[in-house]
């Protein structure tokens, strides 16, 4: 056991004395992580997703509903999401969007409130296109008319008064969110309006409401129109836990690069087995009172320890230099061990299949790049076609990144069981195949 350990430590020392290998194992992934940090806006503070969406509000209505809509955007609930500014001039607001200074402008036209809530002195709301928009003297719904109720001609308008959402096409997500908030407000108003009008029409048809009283009743029902709550379906919201987690894009990029170059490390380690064989040091080791399994185990341990050191250093660097928070330390440690174990399995398989150290170098580099792109080190797997996502399951990169992402999102060891198990199975199966091939090819013979 001691010999096995000594061989492993010796190989670890050899690799860490090789400046060329260190450049590739540590410096390259570190520099690429910095580059990715710039691309994703991590270093310029633009990577945190939706927040502080700049929106311009032009409230020309200046009445109940216009003011209520403006208040929605400056409410406490949306304080983190929206950054509203107001403008009196629709043209200036549109120009602001054209200059890419905000995600959208909301232009609430004059008369918006009055197009829904009847003004003082009107007998009913004037809503073009609705049953209320009838010739004077009649209010109708579904073919039935309430006698006597009349529509004030002053309130009748030829076109519905519409709120304009002037959207910035280069910020589709933010503009979509702004539109959705306006939609939600309008849906509340519309629900209140439908509810109020239905009650009035029904009461008048039942003879329980005089047309003379309709105006005051309508105004009463419309008073809190925008605070309508659906009674038919309730929505039970469940905000689990208390701690908010802001995903750090570098928590994906840094391990992505570490896992990419881990594949180089494990193939480099495998190359040392064949190099020792061709240089004659391996047969010399095997004639010493050291068993074949101890020698092979020591070599594998050396590769494993190197991989652990490499990934560990890179993950530590991501915390120290970029402030990435990994949360559960135990989960992180076990995940690193499992990821390196899975990758080492691949390294041993390549070693068992190759005939020369140069072949291992070529196959190892190719596999590093193929696993890198298939496993999500370059591009998030969610953006890849389904067949690539399926194929990615054979890479330690995909499982490792799955685990690191879970950790970065606040997950703990129990949440990591799937990737850890997959990586351990991967490593064990590949080791098994490699040992069979080693024996068949006589690589570890004296």
């Amino acid at each position: 056991m001691l010999k096995l350990f000594l061989i492993g430590i010796k190989d670890l020392k050899l690799i860490f004395r090789d400046r060329a290998a260190l450049t590739f194992m540590l410096l390259a992934p570190f520099l690429l992580t910095i580059g990715m940090g710039f691309v994703t806006g991590r270093f310029s503070g633009n990577s945190s997703g939706l927040s502080n969406i700049p929106v311009v509000i032009v409230n020309l209505d200046k009445e109940q509903l216009g003011n209520a809509l403006a208040d929605v955007f400056s409410s406490e609930e949306l304080a983190d999401l929206m950054e509203p500014t107001s403008s009196p001039d629709p043209k200036a607001a549109r120009r602001f969007i054209d200059d890419d200074k905000a995600a959208a402008a909301i232009i609430i036209p004059a008369g918006f409130t009055r197009s829904i809530i009847p003004a003082e002195g009107a007998t009913s709301p004037a809503l073009p296109g609705t049953p209320w928009h009838r010739p004077p003297g009649q209010v109708c719904a579904r073919g039935k008319c309430a006698p006597g109720a009349s529509v004030s001609q002053n309130n009748v308008q030829s076109e519905p008064v519409k709120i304009e959402v002037y959207a910035n096409p280069t910020r589709p997500t933010s503009a979509g969110v702004v539109k959705a908030i306006v939609d939600e407000f309008i849906s509340r108003v519309e629900e209140g309006r439908t509810s109020g009008m239905t009650s009035i029409v029904q009461l008048m048809q039942a003879g329980l409401l005089n047309p003379q009283d309709a105006q005051s009743e309508t105004r009463k029902l419309f008073e809190n129109i925008q605070q309508s709550e659906s009674t038919a379906i309730t929505l039970k919201t469940d905000k689990e836990g208390a701690e908010a987690v802001q995903f750090d894009i570098l928590a994906y990029m840094a391990p992505g690069m570490a896992l990419l170059f881990l594949m180089y490390t494990v193939s480099y380690g495998g190359r040392s087995i064949l190099a020792e064989r061709s240089q004659g040091t391996l047969p010399r080791l095997l004639v010493s009172p050291t068993s074949t399994s101890e020698v092979l185990g020591g070599k594998v341990l050396g590769i494993f320890l190197t991989g652990v050191a490499q990934v560990g250093i890179l993950i530590l660097a991501s915390s120290v230099f970029f402030g990435v928070k990994w949360g559960d330390t135990l989960g992180l440690a076990i995940l690193i061990l499992a990821a390196v174990f899975g990758a080492t399995g691949w390294g041993m398989l390549i070693t068992a299949l190759a005939r020369t150290p140069a072949q291992i170098g070529s196959i190892g580099s190719a596999l590093m790049l193929i696993f890198g792109i298939m496993g999500g080190s370059f591009i998030n797997l969610d953006q890849m076609p389904a067949y690539v996502r399926t194929l990615s399951k054979i890479t330690p990169n995909a499982w490792g990144l799955d685990g690191f992402t879970t950790l970065a999102l606040g997950g703990r060891l129990p949440n990591l069981m799937q990737p850890i198990t997959a990586l351990l199975i991967m490593g064990a199966v590949l080791f098994g195949i490699a040992v069979v091939l080693f024996n068949r090819n006589g690589i570890m013979q004296k």
């Binding site: 580059g35 983190d80 959207a167 969110v177 519309e190 379906i233 039970k236």
Partner: protein
């Protein structure tokens, strides 16, 4: 001339001595070009926030809610099972999950006992946005029933119903009225798309084709340094001293051979771009040749200079790949340059990859011609002159 050709031929034989070189020469570049073209966002993707929806009711009401969500500008409903949704939510991969339980139908809505569940990650802005979108969808589906329920309440507060039957008739009548009112409701919001100019000039196929071409051609050209280091380590460079070949012949033979191989590789990748990715690489053949040649010369010159600083082949191999990848990333070959902060965009102008990428995008993305790529070609030629000068000046046989 014969010697130069012989040296170049020898290098080609050494390089392609192993069939695995073909992996790096053509197979992997094509795989990367293809996958990155499909895997990088094109701007046409659905930008809405994903909302996992579990529909256990499978009724017309639940379908109406899902249809309303489909029309939302903020969320994109993705149907899934409760187990999958819960698992994704537990792993925090799903920010928000809407569960429509079994039994949600008109009768349940009428009785007022219908309830849907929304799981939200805590203090999550996307989840807050999704909640509003879900509320909108629910209101649109249920508002006529809510209105009818409210009308019944209003009526009851004025004059109680004589029987349950009368109440039900009043409810049905109110529902019909409410549906009629709802149907005739006008659109109250209009969306006008602004005239904002997109700052990011990007097409995933063109960017991937040009970017991967540069990445996979520049790395072996930087690898000229490894070639020098190998020959120096093996002592073959010293042996050249005993032959009637001078330094210029050796350098010209080595570099021209590598540049020629790079041009062949580039043409193969351009051919892939034209035939498979349907890119318009061949519109201006002269301009294309100029930008490919100057790019290859700049990269080869950089490799030559590297070769005079690096001692071992191992170091050279590692540094070639590292510089190749870092230069490609920072030069905008993997992701659009416009994503970088403006300071970084200015700094990376010192990299040949930046100019090569801009030149190639001028041709394949922006439809430019020879005139348009001359500034980039000029800068690349300037790189080539500077680095070749340093390389030749510092070149040593031992």
């Amino acid at each position: 001339m014969k010697k130069i050709f012989a040296i170049a031929w020898k290098d080609a034989i050494v390089r392609f001595g192993s069939s695995s070189e073909l992996l790096f020469f053509i197979i992997l570049p094509i795989v990367f070009t293809f996958l990155l073209a499909g895997g990088t966002p094109s701007g046409d993707e659905d930008p809405r926030i994903p909302l996992s929806v579990v529909d256990e009711a499978k009724t017309s009401i639940s379908q109406q809610v899902i249809d309303q969500l489909e029309n939302s500008t903020a969320v994109r409903p993705e149907l899934t099972t409760r187990e999958e949704a819960q698992s994704q939510f537990d792993k925090r991969r799903a920010e928000v999950v809407l569960i429509i339980p079994a039994g949600i139908d008109r009768a349940e809505l009428q009785s007022g006992s219908a309830q849907m569940e929304l799981l939200q990650q805590p203090n999550n802005i996307n989840a807050t946005v999704a909640e509003r979108a879900v509320l909108t969808a629910i209101r649109r589906v249920s508002s006529s029933i809510s209105a009818a329920q409210n009308a019944v309440k209003q009526r009851e507060s004025i004059q109680p119903f004589a029987s349950d039957e009368e109440k039900q008739i009043y409810f049905e009548s109110s529902l019909e009225t409410a549906q009629s009112i709802q149907k005739d409701a006008p659109e109250r919001v209009t969306v006008v798309t602004g005239n904002t100019q997109d700052q990011v000039d990007y097409d995933p196929r063109a960017n991937s084709s040009a970017g991967q071409l540069i990445t996979w051609v520049f790395i072996p050209l930087f690898g000229i340094s490894a070639l020098f280091a190998y020959e120096r380590q093996q002592g073959t460079l010293r042996r050249l001293l005993t032959t009637p070949s001078n330094k210029a012949t050796f350098l010209l033979g080595t570099i021209s051979g590598q540049v020629a191989m790079a041009l062949v590789q580039m043409l193969l990748l351009v051919g892939f771009g034209i035939l498979v990715m349907k890119l318009n690489w061949g519109r201006e053949p002269l301009a294309l040749f100029v930008i490919l040649l100057t790019s290859a010369l700049a990269a080869a010159a950089f490799g030559t200079t590297m070769g005079t600083f690096i001692k071992t082949e191992g170091q050279a191999n590692g540094l070639s790949i590292m510089f190749g990848m870092v230069f490609a990333l920072m030069g905008g070959c993997w992701y659009p340059m416009e994503l970088f902060p403006s300071t970084i965009q200015n700094i990376v102008k010192i990299l040949p990859t930046t100019w090569a990428m801009q030149g190639m995008l001028d041709l394949v993305l922006r439809g430019g011609g020879l005139q348009d790529i001359l500034p980039e070609a000029g800068v690349l030629l300037g790189f080539a002159v500077i680095f070749f000068s340093v390389g030749v000046w510092r070149f040593r046989y031992e």
